[in-house]
Symmetry: C2
Subunit: 388 residues, 2 copies
C-alpha cells in the first residue's frame, strides 16, 4: 500500500476558523498532492469534537465539506492517538479491498471553548472513575511518571529540558508549526510549573489543525500518481501496528514502560521486516518531554533510562540513526490532538519523498511514525519505506 497524497494546515489557535474549514483545506491540499485522485472512503481521527465542538457525525460532515458527500466514512477515537488509529483503520479498508483509494484525515479544534474546558476534555483520555474523578489532569498523570523517571535514574529538571530546546529549534524551520521560535534553557527552566515537575515549556501547546493522507492499493496505481505529479519516489506503508494498555495507571506493572509502544512497534517492525536499528527517521509522540524519552526507549532506539542522557549528549540529531522529530514534535510543531498522528505520517512521508518544507532529514529510506493515546493507553505505529 502506498501514500500518494498528503496535506495539512498550519497549526495554531484558529479562533476564526471551524473544524470543517480546517479539514477541507487539508483534504483539498492532499487531493491536489495526489494529482487530483479522489478518495472513495474516509476515516477521520478526532478526540474532542463531542465535548468541545458539540458535534458528532463528524466523518460525514467532513466528507460533505470536502466535496465527497456519500462516500463511506466514520470517525475513529483513541484519545490523543486517534489520528494514528485512523491510519490503521484506513490501512485495513484499503487492504481488505473495501475501497481502493482511502483518505485518512485527522482534525481537532481545541479553541472552541475556554482553556479550562479544553483541559477537562483532554482529561477524558484518563480513567473517569479511577483517576479524573479524584481531580487529576492529564498533565498531572504525566508529572507522576516524570518524577519517577527522575528519581529512578537520577535526572534533574535541567537534564530533561533539552527535549524542548531541540524541538523549538527544529520548529523554527517549520512553516506549519505552532511555536516557530527558538528558545533557551533559561526560559524552559524558569517557565511556570504546570504540574510539578512539569513546567510550561515541557508541554505541547493547545492548538487547532487538520491533516490528510491518501492511501492507494497497488504499486501500479502509485506509479501512475507519481508520474502525474512528477515524483520519482514512492512511499510505501511497509508495516502498521496498534496496541493498548490499561487506561488507569494504577493497574500497570511498570509506569516507566510504554507497553503498548513495545507491542505495537514489534507488530509493525515484523510486518515491515525491519528492526529498530533499521529506522532512518522517526516522528515520536512527545506530548511531554517524558513521553518523548520513554518512546525512544520503548521503540528500541536506546536502552531503558538512557534516553534523556544520550539525548543531551547529542544523539538523534541530523546524521544520526534514527533522526528524530525534525518537525518540532508535538512540543513545538504542535499537538492538535486527533490530527497529530496524521501529521506525523504526512511528515515522515514528505521526508522520504525529499520535499518536506521544514528541517530536512538525511535522505531517509525507512521512516516511522509513533502516536500515543492517553499515557500510552494506545500506541499506533506506521513504518514507511522509500521505493523508487
Amino acid at each position: 500500500m502506498f501514500i500518494v497524497g498528503v496535506g495539512f494546515t498550519p497549526i495554531g489557535r484558529w479562533f476564526n476558523r471551524s473544524a470543517r474549514d480546517l479539514f477541507s483545506e487539508a483534504m483539498i491540499k492532499a487531493i491536489e498532492d495526489a494529482g487530483g485522485l479522489k478518495p472513495k472512503a474516509l476515516v477521520v481521527g478526532n478526540m474532542a469534537s463531542s465535548t468541545l465542538m458539540e458535534q458528532d457525525s463528524l466523518a460525514a460532515l467532513m466528507a460533505d465539506y470536502s466535496g465527497l458527500r456519500g462516500i463511506p466514512a466514520f470517525k475513529v477515537e483513541a484519545a490523543c492517538g486517534s489520528g494514528g488509529a485512523a491510519v490503521y483503520a484506513g490501512y485495513s479498508l484499503v487492504s481488505s479491498g473495501l475501497a481502493d483509494v482511502v483518505a485518512v484525515g485527522g482534525v481537532e479544534k481545541l479553541t472552541e471553548k475556554p482553556t479550562a474546558d479544553t483541559t477537562h476534555a483532554l482529561a477524558l483520555a484518563a480513567d473517569r472513575e479511577y483517576e479524573v474523578f479524584y481531580g487529576t489532569s492529564f498533565t498531572g498523570l504525566n508529572a507522576l511518571i516524570t518524577r519517577l523517571y527522575m528519581n529512578k535514574y537520577g535526572y534533574t529538571h535541567e537534564d530533561l529540558a533539552y527535549w524542548a530546546l531541540r524541538m523549538h529549534e527544529y520548529a523554527s524551520y517549520n512553516p506549519y508549526a505552532q511555536l516557530r521560535k527558538k528558545t533557551s534553557l533559561e526560559v524552559i527552566l524558569k517557565s511556570p510549573v504546570i504540574a510539578d515537575p512539569i513546567r510550561l515549556f515541557d508541554c505541547s501547546p493547545i492548538g487547532d489543525g487538520a491533516a490528510v493522507v491518501i492511501l492507494v492499493r497497488g504499486e501500479e496505481r502509485a506509479r501512475e500518481v507519481a508520474k502525474a505529479t512528477g515524483r520519482d519516489v514512492l512511499v510505501e506503508i511497509a508495516g502498521v501496528g496498534v496496541a493498548t494498555d490499561s487506561v488507569d495507571l494504577g493497574s500497570r506493572e511498570d509506569l516507566l514502560t510504554l507497553k503498548s509502544t513495545r507491542l505495537a512497534s514489534r507488530q509493525a517492525y515484523s510486518m515491515a521486516g525491519v528492526d529498530a536499528g533499521d529506522i532512518d527517521y522517526a516522528e515520536v509522540h512527545d506530548a511531554f518531554h517524558i513521553t518523548g524519552y520513554l518512546a525512544l526507549e520503548d521503540l528500541g532506539f536506546t536502552g531503558k533510562g538512557e534516553a534523556a542522557r544520550v539525548w543531551r549528549e547529542g544523539r538523534f540529531v541530523k546524521g544520526d540513526k534514527p533522526e528524530i522529530n525534525f518537525s518540532g514534535g508535538l512540543k513545538a510543531r504542535g499537538h492538535p490532538v486527533g490530527a497529530t498522528g496524521v501529521y506525523q505520517v504526512a511528515e515522515v512521508a514528505m521526508q522520504i519523498r525529499g520535499d518536506y518544507p521544514g528541517y530536512k532529514a538525511s535522505d531517509p529510506e525507512i521512516g516511522l511514525a509513533h502516536n500515543l493515546g492517553g499515557v500510552a493507553t494506545y500506541t499506533s505505529i506506521v513504518v514507511l519505506r522509500r521505493r523508487r
Copy 2:
C-alpha cells in the same frame, strides 16, 4: 468471513451498572458463544461516552475490562450508526488480514446524566452550526420529515401508529427488550406529543446496553467453532456497505429519501450477489416510526410512499418476505445508540442459526441489518447468509 459468537445484555435504564460492566457481560457471553475463542482485536461502536460518561479511550477501557488488555482497539463514531460502522471497520480488520479473530462491540450508557443532557447529547448527531444552534432536537428534525411524509402521501397519525403497535407485540416475546409489553392503538394515539406530529409511543426509548459479535476469517475456522459449540449452521457475512449523506437536512435533495440507505444497501447487495427480493429477514433502524417506513422503501422492500400503507395492511409479518424486526426494533427492543447496530447483527445471526430467544423468524437463509446514524447521515448494511 463468519460470525462465530454473539452476546448482549438486556436493554434498560441501568442506573446501577457502568458501561464497562455492561460491555464485559456482552463480551464474556460472546466469547462463550464462540466456544472460548479469544478476540485478537476489538472495535467499539459508541456515540455519547465523551458527553454523558465523560470518558474517552473507550475501546482500550473495554478491552481491559473484558480481559483483553493489550490488543489493538479503537472506537468508531458514526452517531446512532456507530455500531453498524464498527461492524464495517471490524470486517475490514479481518478481511485485510490484520487480525484473524476480531470482536466488534457496541456500548451505550445513556442514563448517566439527567434526560435533558441525554437529549442534548443525541442532538450532536445533527449539524451543530446549522441545526442544533437554532434549538432543534433530534426528534424535532424527524418530526419535520414525518409531517412531510403525511402531507405528501395523505397519511394520518393513526395510519403511522401501526409501527409501534407491532413492535411492542414482538418485544413482548424478547427477554432482552427494554419495553416488554404489548400496547394498543388507543395508548399510542393518546400518548404525549414530543415534537408534533411525533408522539411518545412513536419514539424509541432511552436505554443502556452492550452487544458483541465475534468475526473470524475462513470457513475452516468457523467450522471448528461450530463443531465445538454443537451447531450445524454457519453465519457468513456475505456483504457490507456504508454510505453517508449531508448532516444538515437543509442541503439534501429529497427529505423523504434515505439516500445513504440506497447507496449502502446497493453496495452490500452487490457484494453478496443478492437483491432486495432475496432478503428473508431484516432488522431495520426505526428510531422513529418514520425511519422504519422510509427504510423499508429505500432498502427496496416496497415502493416510495407505500410503506405505511402496506405495513398497516399486514405486510412484513411472519411468513412474508422479508420478515421485519421481530426483536421489537429500536422502538421496543430499545436503542442503546452506539450498541444498536451490533444488537441488530447479533439478532439476525441468531435468527439464521435458529436459536433467537424471542419471536422466531421462518428459518431465514439471507438476513440483513440496517443501522442509521443521524437522519440517515450514515447507513451501514450487513447482509448475512446461512451456510451448512
